[in-house]
Amino acid sequence: MVETKKNEFRKRDLFYLVPLWLLSLIAPDPYLYHKKEFKKKDLFYLGAIGLAPLIWSDPHFHHLMVLAGIYAILSLGLSLFMGYAGQISLGHAAFFGIGAYTTAILTTRYGVPIFLAFWASAASAAAIASFIGRPILKLKGYFLALATLGFGEIFLVVLRESTDLTGGVIGIFGIPWFSVMGFIFDTYLKQYYLTWGVLVGLFVFSKNLVRSKVGRALLAVAASEDAASSVGINVPRIKLEIFILSAAYAGLAGSLFACVMSIANPEAFSLGLTVLIVMMVILGGMGNLYGPIAGAILLTWLTDILSRYQEYSLPAYGMILILLLIFFPDGIGTRLNVRVIYLIGYWAKKKKRDEGKL
C-alpha cells in the first residue's frame, strides 16, 4: 500500500516537473529567481531573439515578429505607466499615431532623414504627453481612463480634419524604409533586427529604471498615492515623467510602424488599437517587463492564426481571451509557474475529486 502511494507520488512529480522545467526556460518568474539566474535567462532570450529569424527563415515569420516587436515596444511603455505606476491610459494609440505621423510628415513632406525623424517622433509624442499630462494626470482611476480616451478621439478628429498636413482620412503614403548612414532596412529580416534591437535597448533601459529610485517610487505611487506623498515622493512629477516616457516609447513604435507599413492612416490608430495594446499588457501581466512582450507576441500570432477562420475569427478570438483571463488572471508572464502548477494539479486531481477522495 505504502509502495503504491510512493509510485503515484513519483509519477505525479514527474508529470509536474517536465512541463514546469520547459516553461521555466521560456517564461521566467520575476518573483522567484535569483539575480544570477536572471542574467542567464536574459542571455537565453537574447540568443533566442537573435537566432529565431534564422531558424524560421521565412518572410511571414519575420514580418509578424516585426509587428509583434512594434506592439511590444508600445505595450512595454504602457506597462510602465499601467503596471508600475498603477495609472490607466486608453489613449496610447494616439501617441503611437503621433509617432507615425511625425515620421510620415517629416520624411515625405520635408525630406528629413528617417533616422532623425525616428527620434523626432519620440520627441513629439513626449512633448504632447507633457502638454496634456499636466492637467489630465490630476485625475484618477476611471476619470483618467476617460480623459485619455477622449484625447485619443480628439487626436483622430484632428488627423481626419487637418487634410493639408495629414492627408485627412486618406493618410500619407510612400513613407521610406528605415535607414541609417546609407544602410536601408528594406527586408523583413533587417526590419526584424531593427525592431527587436530597439526593443531590447528599451527593455534594458526600463529594467534599470524600475530597479532605480524612480522605479521604487513608481511602485509606491501605485500602492497608495497618499502614502507615497507622505514619504516625500513628488507624486504628480513622477506620474508625469512616466507618462512622458511611456508616450516616447509609443512614438518610437509609431515611427517604426510607419516605416514598415509605408503608410500612416487614421484608421490604424483608432480605439481598436488601444484596446489591443491594453489587452497585451493585461494578458502579458502588469508590473512585469516580460509580460507585455509575451502578450504582444501571443496576440499578434493569435490574430494571424485565426485569420483563416474568416467571420468566425472574431468570436474565437474573444473566447480565447476570456479563457486566458480566467486561467491566467495575473497574465501569462506573471507567476506563470504558480498558475501552471495549479492548473496541472487541478486536472491531475480531478478524478480523485470527482470520486470524493479529496
Partner: protein
C-alpha cells in the same frame, strides 16, 4: 497470423492509395490567396465576394481546371486592420504555390498590400474602386478590377447633368473611398457648371444612425434649394442615410455611389430607397442589358447560377468577384509551361478583349485599370428593384 492480418491491411491501403484515380490524375493546384475584410464594416459585402468566387472556381474545377490543374482559394480575414492585411500578404507570399492575391477592399489597406506585392513580386488583384493616388503608387504587380474613383465620379456627373441637377449637396463618409469620390465629383461637376457643396458633416462606416448630421444639413438643403443629395458612402450607411433623410421629411432626390448596387442595400433601406439613382456596373441589372450587349449572356448565366446556389442574384460586387476569377482563369490558360508568379503576371497584363460580367477587359503595361466609363450603366431603385435608366446623349 496476428501479425499478418494488419500487415496485409496496411499493404492493401497503400496499394489502393497508389492506384486511386485521384492520385493518378491530380496535378498541382493553382492557389489564389484572398485577403479580405471578413469581419468589420465590410463583412456582409465580403461574404458575397467569397460566395461568388467559390461558385466560379467550382465551375472551373468541374470542367477539369486548367489542363488538369485545379484552382484553390485560400481565404484570410484581415479584420479591417493594416497590420493584419500586411501579415496576410506575407503569409501568402511565403507559400510559393500561391500565384496571386485578391484584395483587400479599403484604400489604406490596398496601399500596404500593393507595396508588399511589389516587393515580394506577386500579383495583387484589387476588386474595389480606389483612389488614383493609391493606384499610382505601385502598378507593376497590382491590377484593378473595378473602375477608378475618377471614372465612377465622371459617370455620376453625367447622371446629374442628364437629370439637370444644378446644385448637389455631398454627404461623404469618413473613409478614403468616399472622400476621394466626393472630391472628384466636385471637380468634374464644377467643370460642367454645377455647384457642388461638400458637407463638413461626415459619418463612419460603422454608424447606425445619421440623424444628428442630417438635422444639421436639412437647413442647407432648404436654404440652398439643393436639387439632389449625394450619399457618398459604401455599405450599410447608404440605406441608413436614405431612411433618416426621408424620416426627416426631406424629399430631395438622392444620388448614390456605385456601392448602392450591392444586393442587400434595398433590403436594408426598404421604401426609403425608392427613387435613389446612381451609376454602377452591368451586373446590377443583368436582365435589363441590351440584347446586343456582348456581356449580357455572361451576366445572365452567372445570375442564374447564383440564384440556384445562394438564393440571391448577381450584383455589383458579385460581378467583380466573378471577373476576378474569370481573368485569373483566362491568364492561366495563356501561360506557357510551368506557371510561375512572373509568368502569370505577364499573362494577366496581356489580357485583351476578355468578356466578363462588368465589361470587356484590356490590360497593358501602362494600363492596369481594365474597365472604362462605358462599362457602367445608370440605375434607379424602383418597386424594390434595380431598374436600368437611359438618357440620350449620356449612355
Amino acid at each position: 497470423m496476428k501479425k499478418i492480418v494488419p500487415l496485409i491491411s496496411v499493404l492493401t491501403l497503400i496499394l489502393m492509395t497508389w492506384v486511386s484515380p485521384a492520385y493518378v490524375a491530380e496535378k498541382s493546384l493553382y492557389k489564389i490567396g484572398v485577403n479580405l475584410e471578413f469581419t468589420g464594416p465590410w463583412a456582409e459585402v465580403t461574404k458575397t465576394v467569397r460566395n461568388a468566387m467559390v461558385l466560379e472556381v467550382e465551375r472551373i474545377n468541374k470542367m477539369g481546371g486548367i489542363d488538369g490543374h485545379s484552382i484553390e482559394l485560400l481565404f484570410e480575414d484581415n479584420g479591417f486592420d493594416l497590420g493584419r492585411t500586411a501579415a496576410n500578404m506575407t503569409k501568402f507570399t511565403k507559400d510559393k504555390q500561391i500565384i496571386a492575391v485578391v484584395g483587400p477592399f479599403e484604400d489604406n489597406l490596398q496601399a500596404t498590400s500593393r507595396a508588399i506585392a511589389e516587393r515580394e513580386k506577386i500579383t495583387n488583384i484589387i476588386i474595389c474602386p480606389s483612389n488614383p493616388m493609391v493606384r499610382a503608387l505601385k502598378q507593376k504587380w497590382a491590377f484593378n478590377i473595378a473602375q477608378s474613383d475618377i471614372i465612377v465620379s465622371q459617370k455620376l456627373v453625367d447622371l446629374s447633368l442628364a437629370r439637370k441637377y444644378k446644385k448637389v449637396l455631398v454627404f461623404p463618409a469618413a473613409i478614403p473611398l468616399a472622400k476621394s469620390l466626393a472630391e472628384f465629383y466636385k471637380r468634374f461637376g464644377e467643370e460642367k457648371g454645377m455647384k457642388i457643396i461638400i458637407s463638413q458633416e461626415t459619418h463612419k462606416p460603422t454608424d447606425i444612425d445619421m440623424t444628428p448630421q442630417l438635422i444639421k444639413l436639412k437647413p442647407i438643403i432648404e436654404k440652398e434649394k439643393i436639387d439632389a443629395f449625394y450619399a457618398c458612402t459604401a455599405g450599410p450607411p447608404g440605406p441608413i442615410i436614405c431612411k433618416n433623410l426621408r424620416t426627416l421629411g426631406v424629399k430631395t432626390p438622392i444620388l448614390g455611389t456605385h456601392a448602392f448596387g450591392f444586393g442587400f442595400i434595398i433590403a436594408l433601406g426598404g421604401e426609403a430607397m425608392e427613387g435613389v439613382e446612381f451609376g454602377a456596373g452591368k451586373p446590377v441589372v443583368p436582365d435589363q442589358l441590351d440584347e446586343n450587349d456582348p456581356v449580357r449572356t455572361i451576366n445572365l448565366d452567372f445570375d442564374k447560377r447564383m440564384r440556384e446556389r445562394d438564393g440571391v442574384g448577381l450584383d455589383q460586387i458579385a460581378g467583380h468577384a466573378h471577373d476576378t476569377i474569370s481573368l485569373i482563369y483566362d491568364a492561366l490558360k495563356r501561360c506557357q509551361g510551368k506557371v510561375t508568379r512572373a509568368i502569370f503576371r505577364d499573362a494577366l497584363e496581356n489580357t485583351k478583349g476578355h468578356k466578363n460580367c462588368h465589361g470587356i477587359y484590356n490590360y497593358s503595361p501602362t494600363d492596369h485599370d481594365g474597365l472604362s466609363k462605358k462599362d457602367m450603366v445608370f440605375i434607379r431603385i424602383e418597386g424594390g428593384k434595380f431598374k436600368r435608366i437611359k438618357f440620350p446623349g449620356f449612355e
